[in-house]
Subunit: 455 residues, 4 copies
């Protein structure tokens, strides 16, 4: 169900690309909707009052079936919704709402739309002051080169475009670690031009993305890529944060003996309390069958480790970038031979031992490369956070509640996102009585926990 | 790794079909060998003494990478090994070892080779007596029609062929429920022509095929077919035999709430002891998200159940035949609409409710239809049983130990199969001392358990 | 609730010994009844028809609250029920029903009543033939010495007593490994005098006594004896039969890292499939925190192992006799010092290292010594087997179905025992349809599995 | 090992009370030391440098074996350590270090010592100003009445005592929820007289006290109090915070079917992701066998619920106060009859149904009432936090780092507490390289996580 979809000219329909049958596209949407109960519950609860009536929302998102369900949800709540393709010119296009200026709200994923506006405003001001236009050659970063080019070209037709956009913009909600990091940097340097809500650190976003999502998709990726029986194997999980916890749980439950490596003594102690051994990679490198990196750091499994592994040991990364595994060291190892078993599954044979290891997804995220990424239910959690954040920004647009700063989604809205998913799972919540509420000094309607609560 | 392979003309090499690179075929074999440690351990332990020297073994098996590892193992132990394709004429071909007569031993899978010989001998004797040849039109069973045709045609060239075969044949080992059932019927009717070893009921065969195999392949099939998040769902497993136990464990561990239906109070009590609720299908049909049949019986989930399920409930079978699910009732339901989401994954929409259910693999075994069947490690257990059974038949060929009956693989050989898999998993067994052995009246080298031990 | 109870003179009431309040005794019975749903269901189902009307049943059982519930159940079904205390003279007494001869049925536990009758008959016949009386001094076994004394003394008053008993006796049901072993020996030597049903090997007896019972009582005993936190510890379980499986599961679930030692490769492979490492005791003796023997064999943990253990390592036995742990070697170790921490919990300090180990229950069964043995629910399974076996013997007394042999409880009755426990646990069984029953050739009312089914 | 101990006159030795053998007391300490590896590691790491040289530390703690290990640790680090008994006059006594004034540091548990000093200072100032002495009759709170009495009596002999104490005092560390709450109230009202470190919210304190501690002690308490078989039962856990998570995990692993009640949708969603059903108490009150409250709120299980429960349903509290269960409603229910089965285990019979429920520990914390509270390992985590906090206060006494505020223990010290426990559990941590440290902007030596990290 990772099929890509596109919006039709009507602006209200999505068609599955590369598939001839329109029915098929709708079918995929139907299926995704059942698995995205948070978004569907938003439609039921907020649809009738049309809270986004009159709001223009630009979504800077990769188009997938799940994204289509998000956008249909925003429009079901009254918004006009533009969607973006994956390239920078699309980002620019989608911010363009014609003569009337830009969007009221932005749903951002990676911070691209936010970056473009900030750079645009900076360039327009510089241009007004000194006549200077941005020089794409001033940067080595190929992405940023394109951004500067787009802005430079735009200056010729309208030198106030991004500033008009900024004026109109009520705020942005952002769901990725990368995008959020950039927002906090802008806040710190005092350059943030509009309010931003960080939904990346909502409990309902982060636990699903990391813990529950990877618990699902690690075995999925392993089985699709290698068909290996996990039971009976020794599996090493590097890191025991939320991703590592999810991976270790999945492997343990599938019958593997799991060993964890950690730098953080608290996380190490947590693993021990679950009966999981804590060792260093060096201790176990020649005995284990499966290696998974989950750290978000670099240089976790080096080529020198890989040389010592058992024949056909499986090495994969579900943490962050592909530099968790020393792919460069592997690729440049003298005499190493790469044999592609199938796409995303390579065997690398070392010349001195003639034994090989199996590397998944070329060291990149294996749940994306070898499986289909997060299931729709996980995306439902992320996207419901987005919808709720957009509602909050829009409802408070006139109150001044949100300044030009980055805000974590308020706890009671994080709880709201969870609540919107419970019905589909058949759950029935208990309600605080007034007297209980008074006793523990917690409002009947929540939030039920302090900000730092660890869940 | 479910790629099909074929034997080359040399008789000692296997090439992956439909793949241009010879390297690729070998690579697949290399990978499978690592995951089939029982067969590799057989080569190490028995290879040097060449116990099958001079033996002709015909394997009536579907050709897969795993089968290739089996055949290479038999030949590594000194056998000449013929392999069979999937159709009856291949069965006949593979029993034909030229002028010298047939094979010494048969590795059977479904009882086809055994059936052909028995029917051949019967026909030759009838022909000798009455001149009558088999009439393919005498049966409605299309498979049996072919068998009779092959035998009829063979009679013209050699009317003693199957009888010569029978004379030479030392025995057969059989690994399927179906094949074993037929053998016991022949034994009962006194028509069995040679000794047979039933490896289907070895612990190391049945637990892996059923419990561990399905614990692996049920979630694999579910994820490949539907990408559904299992956590949080309500899953109904019909039946709590070994297959059901494996499925329930896998679903529970993935975070589903599992409900089991059972007819057998002992199995029901076992489920309860694991915290699993026992209800009838009627009790939960409208609340559950996933339904899995594991019974080996028919008419488990009827169209009338399916009509009452939630929209996009998933229905699948990992038990035996596709009649566990009432596919006929579904297909003939007035106005029902079938929409193929992708191969092996169909949505069936009921006209009155407009809601649909997702049926996997058209009701047939979903781990074969939607995933790649058993992982190599499971096949290693089955095939090591075959090798050990063949060795036993061959070693005892002159002793009269095995009469024209069906034998379960002796317990100590079942234990041997297990032992051959331990090294790869890093296990170190304890040895009984002589004094301990005397104390519990169990030989130092096993068998360690009585025949009826339940494991 | 391990309080001992005694039958009152009325023969229908039981009073808790050593407790002054009669209410208290009844209360304990009330509590036990709720936890013994199989026996209560027997009363409901069979009580109205009074199947034991006229039957005298002698129970040779240790008196506990659970035994009292059993006896009240037998009487509720119409029997006259005698109960036995723990010594041989009680056994003799309880077989004595006055002038009318002995009991019709015996519920035996350890085979004592059975032994007494067999020895009695043998002695009477010898006495009649040669005038010789048994000589208690002819044996070193102190138990047997008492048996011979009782018989010798009895001969003086009635030299036909045991033979009259034998004539009347319909059969015995026996629930212990020891008692069953003796019965099979009698059967083999042709000396068994009446039919016997072995309920020890019923699934509903053995799985509860071993797997589920020990999964419950091992952590119970550990916590009561030592208050040790199990999470984070390394625990070694010697043996992975049903007892070992229960112990390993309990320790794993409590957060220990479990290592198993095994002699049987099949059981070892089962452990590996659950992610449990298989090593020898020597491999881990100096690293582990908790050691549990479950083998039923002797000399598992020797003093030489114990000397190498970590300070305050815990050593205990839940298998069979105390010789699983080398208590003799420990007690006679030169200079060893025993310090009793509390009853059933000793610290043994080795002189050379000054470090000590904690031995529970002096090496005897730790769930009896340090906890309260099996919970009532487990005893309900055992005792319901007894009731069902008694009913079977009584109902078939005139049909000749049971000869002077040992019979395992028929599968459908084993299933009946399970069924009688389901209601209390809220389970709802599915019923086979006639058409399904025909399809798999299994009666609608069971038995549902072949005799050798492994569960 | 919950034996109470007392300090000997030498001030360096602890003797087990009510036990005649001195050996026995030392033995208990030896056992506890093995289970309190964090404290022992403190002695090894910090002992040689005697960081507390010259420091007087008063510990306002209940005396247990574990407390004795704490105090011996503080003295091993160079401190003079006074210990307190359980009553207010002891609190006063232990703050009295003779002429030289009070302690330098306080280890508080419940905030008693802190309260006494604050009230003392307040009273002295009032007395100096107006001559008024505190009036014990001014309060209804019996505890506070004693505090005022002690202060009033003290004023007569030394009217500057508490103010001198305050001057000398470097700070306090506090480990209970109650004590911490009071500290924050003082901080808020600006009345806090010295720095305070809240160790209650350290990860290594709270996870062990709540999650891991209760996962251990809930089944312990259930089994000791009732001997009930947990497998097969339906258990309701009210609340799914850390305590509830621990309880639910323990019950599930023991084979119960667990149902959770929750008010917080996020926690509810977490339960669902583990396959646990979320219902209201009303939904399941008449079906469940075991009820556990874990909420920290009041009025969770009311007498009206209890009336509807099954006969002999077990009701217990492991949350906070006994008002989680409506004990008052139960006790005053017309005609209700209480029968004590054994201490801490009562059966309450309702007059109209004659059925009864089993209430543990009179509704108070059942792991304290029916088992022995937290195991030593859990206390090791709490007390190592205390030692580390004391070290931090003492080391920073001259730097002004800590003002008259409440501080959570800094993350790197929380991590230190964890690290001090790893060695005993055989763990081997990985170390960040300089280059990895730079890459993720985290110091090589930690802290490794942001303050709000959820673990």
């Amino acid at each position: 169900m990772a099929l890509s979809v596109e919006k039709t000219s009507s602006g209200r329909e999505y068609k599955v690309k590369d598939l001839s049958q329109a029915d098929f596209g709708r079918l995929e949407l139907d299926l995704a909707e059942v698995e995205m109960p948070g978004l569907m519950a938003c439609r039921t609860e907020f649809g009738p009052s049309q809270p986004f009536k009159g709001a223009r929302i630009s979504g800077s998102l990769h188009m997938t079936i799940q994204t289509a369900v998000l956008i249909e949800t925003l429009t079901a709540l009254g918004a006009e919704g533009e969607t973006l393709e994956e390239y920078w010119w699309c980002t620019e296009r989608c911010l363009d709402w014609g003569a009337g200026g830009g969007p009221d709200l932005i749903v951002d994923d990676g911070g691209d739309a936010t970056l473009l506006i900030h750079e645009g405003v900076k360039a327009e001001e510089e241009f007004e002051k000194s006549g200077k236009v941005p020089d794409p050659e001033s940067t080595d970063n190929p992405e940023f080169k394109i951004v500067l080019t787009i802005i430079r070209d735009g200056l010729k037709t309208d030198a106030h475009k991004y500033r008009k956009m900024k004026e109109r913009l009520v705020g942005v909600s952002e769901e990725t670690t990368t995008g959020v990091k950039r927002l906090y940097q802008m806040q710190e340097s005092g350059t943030l031009l509009f309010p931003a809500i960080n939904v990346n650190d909502s409990v309902t976003k982060s636990k699903f993305d990391n813990l529950y999502g990877c618990r699902h998709s690690l075995p999925d990726g392993l089985m699709r890529a290698t068909d290996v029986m996990i039971a009976g194997k020794v599996a090493v999980v590097c890191g025991y944060g939320d991703v590592g916890k999810g991976c270790a749980a999945a492997l343990k439950q599938a019958g593997a003996r799991v060993i964890v490596t950690e730098i953080d003594p608290i996380c190490a102690l947590q693993a021990l309390m679950e009966g999981i051994q804590i060792l260093t990679l060096e201790d176990v490198v020649s005995e284990a069958d499966i290696f998974v990196t989950t750290t978000g750091n670099k240089d976790i499994i080096m080529v020198d480790h890989m040389r010592k592994m058992k024949n056909n040991a499986i090495v994969c990364n579900i943490g962050h970038f592909d530099n968790e595994i020393d792919m460069n060291g592997l690729e440049t190892y003298p005499g190493v031979k790469r044999i592609t078993i199938k796409p995303q599954t390579d065997r690398w044979v070392f010349p001195e031992t003639k034994t090989g290891i199996i590397v998944l997804a070329e060291g990149r995220l294996m749940n994306l490369g070898c499986a289909t990424g997060h299931p729709s239910f996980v995306m439902s959690c992320s996207f419901t956070n987005q919808v709720i954040a957009q509602l909050e920004l829009w409802n408070e647009k006139a109150t001044g509640k949100y300044e030009k700063k980055v805000y974590v989604l308020p706890k009671h809205l994080d709880e709201k996102v969870a609540a919107l998913h419970l019905g589909k799972l058949g759950a029935r919540l208990t309600k605080l009585t007034k007297s209980q509420s008074d006793y523990i000094s917690i409002p009947v309607e929540g939030p039920y926990k302090p900000a730092a609560y660890r869940y």
